[in-house]
Amino acid sequence: MSGISRATQGWMLLTQVAIMVPLMDQASHWTLAIVSLCLLWRLGIFFARWASPPRWLLNLLGIGTAAALFSQLSGNGTMATLINLLLLGYSLKSIETKSGKDLMVVLLTGYFLIGLHLIDRFGAIMSVQLILMVALNSACMLSNYRSQETKHTFILSLKLIVASLPLAIALFVLIPRLPPMWQIQTSTLARTGLSDSMALGDIAQLTRSDELVMRASFTDDPPPAEQLYWRALILDSYDGRRWSASANVATEPAEHYQPMAPFLDYSLQVEANNQTWLATLRGSRSDSSRLRPQAAQQLHWQVPLISRTKIDLQQGHYPAAMSLSLEAEQQNLLLPAHGNPLARQWAQQLREQYPQPQQRMAAIMSHFRQNPFRYTLSPPPLGGEQIDGFLFNTKAGFCGHYASTMVFVARAAGVPARIVTGYQGGERGLNNEFVSVYQYNAHAWVEYWLPLQGWQRIDPTAAVAPERVEQGAEATLSQQPEFSQQSGLFTWRNSRAIWHLRGVLEQLDYQWSRHVIGFDHKRQISFWQEWLGGFQWWKLAVLLGFILLLVGISQSGLLSRTKPTPTPIRLYNKAQQRLSRWGIQRLDNEAPLAHLERVQQHSQALYDAYLPFCRLFIEVQYQATPTPAKIKRLRGRFQFFIRQTNQAKRRGPVAVKPVTAHE
């Protein structure tokens, strides 16, 4: 198996491009350069323009590879390094591929690289891509074992994979899911998302992205959009520029917030974001061991989320009256010692004017409503005193501006308050089955403390742009030129047909995630329970054995291949078996008549027993078309011959009594 045909080389090139291009976003510049060079060289070899690379070039590329990996090491962590290493090895090996063995190495690496595509891609489309890539890689292998017939190779390869699917599905459903064997470093998968601090301007960046964050499905109808505040992070510390989470958030004891019945059941299908926070409705709890309750009614993942995950949650009511710990109260009133004098002055006025905290907050809201504040994604620069600049000068901004201004003023007016960031609203799918939350749903709002009533949610953005809350971000944002420029989504949003198509695709993706991506240990156990009466290893073994047998029989053609031999030939062969007792069976190249003669020479008695059968056989086989009657007669004569020779066996080899015509 030395030397690789041109067809195989072509398939290899095609496969390599198909496998490597989607991984290019993980590749460093060095890797990119070397990989492209290798592919080009491979192309040159394919068109028979270039020979295989000379030794010095390979050495040079090897050094380049080392450099590329070295530059990678400092950066993005093990997974990215692994991907780069494999990409480099994959393309370098391919240019020096000469024998079938080299090809095998390339192809096995190819299969593994296909696996690495799937680490952070989960969509339904991915499954199609996956099958196609596996088929391409297999076609390359296949072409090495087929002469000519290039155009059927891919089809055949697809057929092989489709034929493999039943067993694969059985394995997928039945093989138990194991817990992770060791902790994985996850720093590689950099993802956009909310950050744990917010400076004015941050959320606008997020708002422009139409990437999916999560999908929520409710057992009943989804609550109206203005109630869907998905809380992700609490920001309670302000340094004059930037809001962040203080260590004191944790001092709020988690058990104070055990939600109570009645519960609203819902589940989230969360996209991997490599973060521990989870955006939930306020007062949510979960039985899952993957989540741990955090202070301030947050739920966090035990480990950063690295794959699309489904989680079941319950939202309950929480007790109304509680007291705030001293540390927490201080933390939520804390402001920098200096800065924003005008805002502080206004807060002081509010404090004197309204004795009740609730009234002060309402006054801030009506201030936003009554003055010419506007909602914009491209706010003018604020200057050094950000809050003052926004409040009295520019009066233009987005949720981050309103929330941080409100918290600032509230704290200055003596009301404990904090910023909550997360997502607001979401887009309803077809049939109201689920609500999709996108990055552009990112939002920031305010919670303030009311004695005896607890934390209260208030959204200052609603005072300025109520439609942002009621109809969702899309309605407000699509009028903002910056938004539609960045996102292709809204430019073709106008066409109803396309909108519908998108809905259908989303639906498909949702179901895919629910049943395939979300088929976890828990669901598997319940599947076993429901269909097979609980998991047992012996059941698994028996079941898999049975499926293997079934697939094996149907694919190997053991059943279909046994074409029955025509009766005359079958009988004739049996007669030869009988004659072989005397060593006078027909030889491979002997005509039946010549053979008959030989039988006669051997023994007259045997000849007399054999003759009627042999004659009729020759007639049936070579002269007339066999009728059922003749076959029946042939069978009779065969039995006669057998009977005669049975007696012969008993009495001795040749003592067959002479017979005349049988009929």
Binding site: M1, K101, M104, L108, Y111, F112, I114, G115, L118, I119, R121, F122, M126, S127, L130, I131, V134, S138, M141, L142, N144, Y145, R146, S147, L156, L160, I161, A163, S164, L165, P166, L167, A168, I169, L171, F172, I175, R177, L178, P179, P180, M181, I184, I306, S307, T309, V516, I517, G518, F519, D520, L548, V551, G552, Q555, S556, G557, L558, R561, D588
Partner: protein
Amino acid sequence: MNIANAMWHKWLHKRLPPSRAQTLSHRSIFILPSGAGIAYLVMCMVLFILGTNYQNNLILALAFILLSLFHTSLLMAYRNLSGITLRAGKSNSCHAGEQASFTVELSAERYRHHIALGFANTTAQLTDVDNAHNSCCELPFPSTQRGKLNPGRIWIETRYPLGLCRAWSVQDLNLSALIWPTAIAGPTGLNSASNTDQNQPQQIRPGIEDFQGLERWQQGDSQSRVAWKQLAQTGSWQIKQFVEPIASPTILTLDSCCSIEDGLSHLTAQLLQHENNRQPYALKLQQQSIEADIGRTHLLQCLDALALYQEGK
């Protein structure tokens, strides 16, 4: 090791007895993963661990698809081999030390890809089997000594479709070929001189070597042999006559001065030399004598006699 080997061959002999034609079926086909197949399985395992660690169902699904693809390729390898009929064809004899070759005919009902065929310890031949016409393979086998050569069982093997599994069978087609002794030039003229009567007038026959004289031209004689010079001088049509001498038939016998094998080798060399020189020769061995003659058939007859001389003693 030897005992295991012997037992294996005994078992093979019982399960797959020799026959001039064999059809491969589940009784005679063995399948094991190839080296690449084992690497592939290890890779599937690594993918499974990766998928488990990342709790990533798609990677697990890929691992399972690849695993069942392996299973499919195992069955396909079996299907590619099963149903092929092997038939023994002609065996080509040769001198000891050269490559004998055996023709094997392959036929099948469906098209078969990438079938490798060969004897143990020889390089295999690759062929496809077309359902329309049978394909013939000429398989070389090195010979070491004269006599009957049994090349042993034929290996027939395929790694189609993906190279992950090796399906093979070993079939005994009852092949054998006669291996002639190696030709080694011995002391020349030893036997032939003793048998030639020097006093006899040399016999001649028509040939092209020596000019004999002129003869009358007759209808049908070749124009190229017309003696044009004589025609111009005398006006009579004559043709030139050529002859070549025939040596009287040499009787070749085994020289008793050296070992049988050496003697046979010398005899072989003489046979070939006589055949080359177109000198008739006869062969006389202990119990066998072959009449003087010349030509390919005669040569083969003599060589076969030498090959079988005192075989098995």
